[in-house]
Amino acid sequence: MAATLKRMDVQRAAEDLRRRTLGGIPRALDRFIYLASTRDYNTGLYYHDGLASQFSADVACEALANCHRETFHELIAAPVKELVDQMQGYMASSQSRPQDFVAVWKGLEPYRVAVPVETDPFSAEFLFSNFKVALAIVEERLQKSPRSIQGA
């Protein structure tokens, strides 16, 4: 009974999260990075102030984890073309210079720590591979016409 009630709370919290916070983030890549950033590196638990006060920290954590998994699968299903567009959009919305962004993403591969816990290793490897290709395309475009990319 308690488990069922908790599951319903998690669903309501996830709905709330999708409508309010995530509703304002149109690109899956941005949502993915944002959701990964709500997770504690040491404990692997997600935290969101608003959701935790409205529901409970436990429920908020599960709702965030569910949305993170959803976004991950959305990215897995995206063609390379879409990933390139998303990466350009994300890069343009970040405060860093495109050249620095590409260098950091190529060097540090920050997306590797952004996957949800218990992700199937093959799915993760596939997404990393697609990110690598998308980044190479973005870099190539940047070398050809830096201005068009910066304005994306």
Binding site: A2, A3, T4, I76, A77, P79, V80, K81, E118, D120, P121, F122, S123, E125, F126, S129, K132, V133, A136, I137, E140
Partner: protein, 194 residues
């Protein structure tokens, strides 16, 4: 003389048989918990990580190559083909590994937990054999001709693997799907057949 050769051949044959019988590891029901968990993990990995239609379609989708070949330079094209080939090889290797794990479990432990009729047993044995051969052929094809060389064979492999999974799903139905389910308060939990 012919009789002596026949007796010698028979003796050698019996010795070989004894050797293989002695080498067979004894399967014990009480030592099978680890094997059960591994089988469940292999099944989960196949069903949720390696065989979902959406994921496999994406991996072998030609439109990605169409986009890269028309919009990117030669260097990126090479990178894409190298990456996709690596992913395709990794996919088929992992499918093969999980199928082998299920096969090992089946030949060593499953008789303690599931009673399969002879027809299902034979069907399963054939599925295992064909699937493992198919995986080897796919590996060779991807290696030599790249990730887009055998879309129909990939389809056959998925269908065969899904069949094997369905049989195992029935055999392992009493086990929770993930380790986390064991800890959930309302989970039925594992109740291994006596």
């Amino acid at each position: 003389m012919i009789q002596l050769i026949l007796f010698l051949a028979l003796g050698v044959g019996l010795l070989v048989l004894l050797f293989f019988l002695a080498r067979r590891t004894e399967s014990r029901a009480e030592g099978g918990a680890q094997a059960l968990v591994q089988a469940r993990q292999a099944l989960n990995s196949l069903q949720t990580g390696l065989l979902p239609a959406g994921l496999v379609e994406r991996v072998f989708a030609q439109d990605d190559w169409g986009f890269v070949s028309s919009k990117a330079g030669a260097g990126v094209q090479r990178l894409f083909l190298r990456e996709r080939k690596r992913i395709a090889l990794s996919w088929v290797a992992q499918v093969r590994r999980q199928v082998l794990s299920l096969k090992d479990f089946h030949s060593g432990q499953s008789r303690f937990y599931a009673r399969l009729d002879v027809r299902t047993e034979i069907g399963l044995a054939l599925s295992f054999a064909s699937l493992l051969i198919l995986c080897r052929v796919l590996q060779a094809t991807f290696y030599v001709r790249g990730p887009y060389a055998a879309p129909r064979m990939v389809g056959f492999a998925i269908t065969a693997a899904a069949k094997v999974c369905t049989v195992f799903e029935r055999s392992l139905a009493f086990l929770p799907r993930t380790p986390a389910e064991v800890l959930r308060p309302n989970s039925p939990g594992p109740h291994v057949a006596a």
